[in-house]
Symmetry: C2
């Protein structure tokens, strides 16, 4: 089977540090190659894959201000469209633009909807000839039909088990009110533990006003954006991941990465969290910072090996690939893989 | 001959008040219909044409904040692309997005480049299978090949000759530093004449800080955005149009409209102005507000009938249509019309 995986081009695939959509596109591409699928990854030209790489954009537009993201994204999608007849199926991770041109694709289109940036983009989905995959049941739009929900999977090879963990807490994600970085600082203070913050600054003002004043390098540290290896190190050496989100997060890749390292999660019951976290096994869902601080001790006392085991069973690359091969089979109306 | 005219969808075609790209797409569509060409206008669905109208977007996204312009523009272009095989030629006025997908169009593409909003969009032009028309020699990019320069034309029917003119000065265009609205206020004051300002506010801060404090309804009036009929009235009753631009304007439709009404123009020698204005016949090109104020009297003394006659010869719809039919013939490699 020949599959084209259409990755976004904000970042390299896989991303060097931040880029969850590119990360998932990479994990799927490499996982499919591992199952013997003939994969062409359409991504930035500095991307890396065990499959074939194609594209037009030299590097991620979020990494190079001289590139106009709208222009290069259109050129990228148009290039993949021009080659679409060479594949059994095109699997897009690139937001709504390919959907506008779905009727011109010469192969069936499967779109993983990684999130809706704005309700005003829904018209692009409502009209398109594409099968849709939601990344959580929570993120489904009532206006669309879906072929399946496929939770993300992560590669356990890059996320070694840390049996010991540590005493500190960690919050990992883009620095933005949605992600609750400031709330995590409050929770750590109430819990009497040190906090390590990792992530790109997406909201400069929030970072300057709500986060930076608390960073002293002792009680609160900010490590910046950390790449995959450092991320696994930071997650594995923590007592718990704090994930006090202030929005309905469609999935939460950092949560799964933490659980796979053996580090349980303390989060709020919003978005996909109730689907991702197994209460009392891989973490706790609580309401507000006081309850979160109280839950930190219980989370730190959880069985880290059991946390990893459940996370691996539910969120491994292999489970995700099996799910997607089932989606492909359903869309093509024949067995695949 | 069957021609698809692809209009932008920021505004209705023709626009109710502002929307120069949509205006030119309309003028060309109606002019082609008048020459017996089978025209399908792809535009907002509230557009008006003597040809066939098609599209997907209910109304201009600049007129309805509930519409995401990027999404609807993509759906609009994709819809026209899907029908492109029904035409001998597709004539696009829609910026760079159709160019990204040019290879998928099933008919030759002619693109009138109405301007480059950003140098970072040039990659979309450099790769595309489209013939390019510049709207002035001044606006040509050295990186592109062009099949022709075709100056815009206007419909004289909507721009009646005003033999008398008047004493006031007028500045007409979007309120933005590029258009020199504040400079026009200065010039009018120096010339000792009243000034009438027309146009949509594109830069709120510039309007509030540099324009509005001078608007007293006596020496300086602001009429807001005026539709075509009122525009002809305002232009025709002026002594001269002030057009003190602070950017290299690709064409300058208001300048031509004014000249056709018999009202000469005082402008700066930037962008296309030297191509559009016949010095000493339809206006004057001067450097700076002092010289502009001094030129106002000379402009007011010009022969208004001669101004209109030259403007009509050079910038009528019929001349523009003849030019575009020659472009189509060249692109198709056979006589048309």
């Amino acid at each position: 089977m020949k599959v084209a995986v259409l990755a976004p081009i904000a970042w390299r695939t896989p991303p060097r540090h931040y880029g969850p959509w590119e990360q998932v596109a990479s994990t799927i591409s490499e996982g499919l190659v591992g199952r013997g699928v003939d994969v062409t990854l359409f991504a930035t030209l500095d991307s890396e894959t065990a499959g074939a790489l194609d594209g037009v954009c030299p590097r991620g537009y979020a990494e190079d201000p001289s590139l106009d993201g709208r222009v290069w994204e259109a050129l990228h999608v148009a290039h993949a469209l021009g080659r679409s007849g060479e594949f059994d199926l095109v699997h897009s991770h690139l937001d709504w633009l390919p959907l506008a041109f779905a009727a011109s694709f010469a192969a069936p289109l499967v779109t993983t909807i990684h999130g809706f940036s704005d309700p005003r983009i829904v018209p692009a989905y409502a009209r398109a000839a594409s099968a849709y995959v939601s990344i959580s049941d929570a993120d489904r739009s009532p206006e669309l039909d879906y072929v399946a929900t496929v939770h993300h999977g992560v590669d356990p090879g890059g996320l070694p088990f840390s049996a010991a963990g540590g005493d500190d807490l960690v919050v990992l994600g883009r620095i933005h009110p949605d992600k609750g970085t400031a709330a995590a600082i409050d929770i750590a203070r109430r819990a009497g533990r040190r906090l390590v913050i990792c992530g790109i600054v997406q909201d400069e003002r929030y970072f300057t006003e709500r986060v930076l004043p608390h960073v002293d390098g002792k009680r609160v540290s900010y490590l910046g954006s950390v790449g995959p290896a450092a991320r696994a190190e930071v997650l594995g050496s923590a007592a718990a991941l704090l994930h006090p989100i202030a929005f309905d997060e469609p999935f939460g890749l950092a949560v799964v990465e933490s659980m796979v390292c053996g580090t349980p999660v303390v989060t709020y019951p919003r978005g996909a969290m109730a689907e991702v976290v197994d209460e009392g096994v891989t973490g706790f869902l609580v309401d507000g910072p006081v309850a979160a601080a109280a839950a930190v001790g219980r989370a730190a006392a959880l069985d880290r090996a059991a946390c990893r085991a459940v996370a691996l069973r539910r969120f491994s690359t292999e489970r995700m690939i099996t799910d997607y091969l089932a989606v492909y089979a359903r869309v093509l109306g024949r067995p695949v893989g």
